[in-house]
Symmetry: C2
Subunit: 331 residues, 2 copies
Amino acid sequence: MKKFVNDPAQFVPEFMQGIADANPDLLSFTPEFQMITRKSGPSNSKVSVVQGSGSGHEPAHVMAVGPGLLTGACQGAVFAAPPVDACYETIKACASDAGTLVLVNNYQGDRMSWDMACEMAEAEGIKLKQFIINDDVAVKDSTWTVGRRGVAGNFFVIKCCGAAAEAGQDLDAVYAIADKVNNNVRTMGVALTSCIPPAKGTPIFDIGDDEMEVGVGIHGEPGRRREKITNADAIADELFDAVAQDIPFNSGDRVAIMVNGLGGTPITELYVLYARVHDRAEKAGYKIVRNYVGEYCTSLEMAGASVTILRLDDELEKLLAAPAESAARIF
Amino acid sequence: MKKFVNDPAQFVPEFMQGIADANPDLLSFTPEFQMITRKSGPSNSKVSVVQGSGSGHEPAHVMAVGPGLLTGACQGAVFAAPPVDACYETIKACASDAGTLVLVNNYQGDRMSWDMACEMAEAEGIKLKQFIINDDVAVKDSTWTVGRRGVAGNFFVIKCCGAAAEAGQDLDAVYAIADKVNNNVRTMGVALTSCIPPAKGTPIFDIGDDEMEVGVGIHGEPGRRREKITNADAIADELFDAVAQDIPFNSGDRVAIMVNGLGGTPITELYVLYARVHDRAEKAGYKIVRNYVGEYCTSLEMAGASVTILRLDDELEKLLAAPAESAARIF
C-alpha cells in the first residue's frame, strides 16, 4: 500500500485535522464526531444545510463546508456511513430557527444513520427536512443502494441549496431547489483502476490491466459492464450518451457540464474527456453556460472519471454563480 | 497503460483544446505552437509574463495563464522542452511596450529553447528579461540540470510576478520580485510511484512496492536516496527539515506553506502531510499566513508530494492575495 498514512485507523481524523489547520478562520473541527462546521456557526435567520457520508470522496463532503455551501458535515470511516450520533450532533450543531435541510446521498448506510438522527432531532423540536440525492444513471439498484446512487451531482445540490440558504430563502424553498437540481442532473462514471482503503490495505475490487468498469460506483460497486479499455473519445461518448439520453436533455437546453476525476486521474486526461464532451454537447445543441473539470467526488486514488450534466434555468444559473467559500477552492 | 487518451501523439494538443474549450472567454489556443494566451491579449502599459516547459506538470504552466498571472505559455511534449519556435511565438504574441519577463524553470532543454527564442526576439527589438527558477533543494545537479531544479516554487514566482505586472510595475521591478521570491522559496518532493507518459507507454523509472524516492524530480529524476516507505509524519518531517534548513527559515518568519500533490495522490493524503507540516512550522515559530494544499506542479499520475515554504514580507503577502483568474482555480 503506497500511501501517506500513519496509523490507518487515524487516517480520517488526521486528514480532517489537516483541513481544519489549513482553514483556521473558516472551519471548526470536532474530532469526537468527525464533524466540521463553519467557524461562524449557524445563523438563526438562515436555513442550515448539512450533509455527511463515508470518507474517501473528498472534496465531498467536509471540504464543502463554508459560507454559501454546507453549514456543517460529518464523515464516517472510509466508505462507511457516519454513525447516528455524529449525524445527530451535526444537526444539533447546525440547528437554526429557520430550519435545516439534510442532504443525503442515496446509500442505505447513510440513509439509516440520517433517518435515525433526524428522528431524534425532530423529537427535540429541531425543524428540518431531509432530501435524497440520486443522480447516477448507471444502474437501477446497486450493491448498497435501493434505487439510483448519489454521486457527483451532489456538488450541484450543495452549491444551489447553499446559495439559496445564504440568500435567505426559507426551508421549503431550499428543499424545492434541491428537488429541482436533483431532477435535472445526471451522472455516469467509469473506473480504470480500483483504490485501496488505508484500513483495508488491499484493492476493493480486481480489474484486468486492459479493462475498465463502465458505470462504476464511487465505492467500486459494479456498473453496467466490464469491458476492454477503449480510447478517450469512445469513453466520453458512452458517458455522454448515457447521461444525455436519461432525462433526456434536449437541443436548446442551457447546461452546466462536469468532468469529475475519481482521485488518481491527472487533470490533463480530464481535459481530453472534456474536449469531447464539450464537442458532443455543442453538436447536440446544448448551450454550455458553466463547466467544471477537476475533482469533486472521488474514490481515494481510483483512476477514473465521471460526466455530469445539469439542466439550468435562470434560478439555478444564478445560484451556481453566487459566491461561496470552502476548503476546496472549486465552487 | 490505463489512461484516457486517444492517439498518444495528440495527447498534449487534445488536453490543451479541452482547457481552451472550458475557458472560452479567458483563453486563446494556438495549436500550431501549443500556445495558450490570454484572450484579452497583452497590454502595452503592463509588463507581460510568459513561461513554457514540458507538458505533464499541469496546472503548470498553461493553466496559469490569465489576468494577474501569465500573459501566455507554451508547452512541449510530455516532459520535453517546447521547441524554440513555440517559445519565440509566445514571446511575440505577448510582447508589450512595457517589456516581457520570461520565467524559465531550470532544466537544460527549457533554458536552451528560451535562450534562443529570447535572442531572436531581442534582435527584433522586443524588450525582455529572463529569470531562472531553481527552488528544489533535493540535489545540487540533476539528470537534466546544472544546478538546482525548478519545481513547485514556480507557482509563487508566477503569482507574485503576475500580480506585480497587473499592478503596473515596470520590468525591472517585476524581475526583482521574481528574484525575491526565488531567493525565499524552497521545495523538496518524494515519489511513491512512477508515472507513464502516454507516448512512452511504460513507467519512467522502476521502484519497489515498498520503496519511495526521496527528493525526486518532477520528471522522475533521482533524488537524494531510495528507501523503504515510512509513515506520513516521518515523510513530512524529512521534507520539512530539508526545506526549512536550507535557507534557513527562522523563528518569527512569516511563511506560505504548500503541500503539492504530484498527480496521483488523493487530497486527503496531502492533508495528512499538511497537518504535520503545519504542526512543525508552528513549533518552529513560523507564522503561517497562507497555505496551499492541492495540485500545483505534477508529474502526470505519479503518486507523491512535495513541500514548499516561501518566506513572506509585506510586499509578497500582498501580491499573493491579489486577485487572479486562470483555468486552474487554485490561485
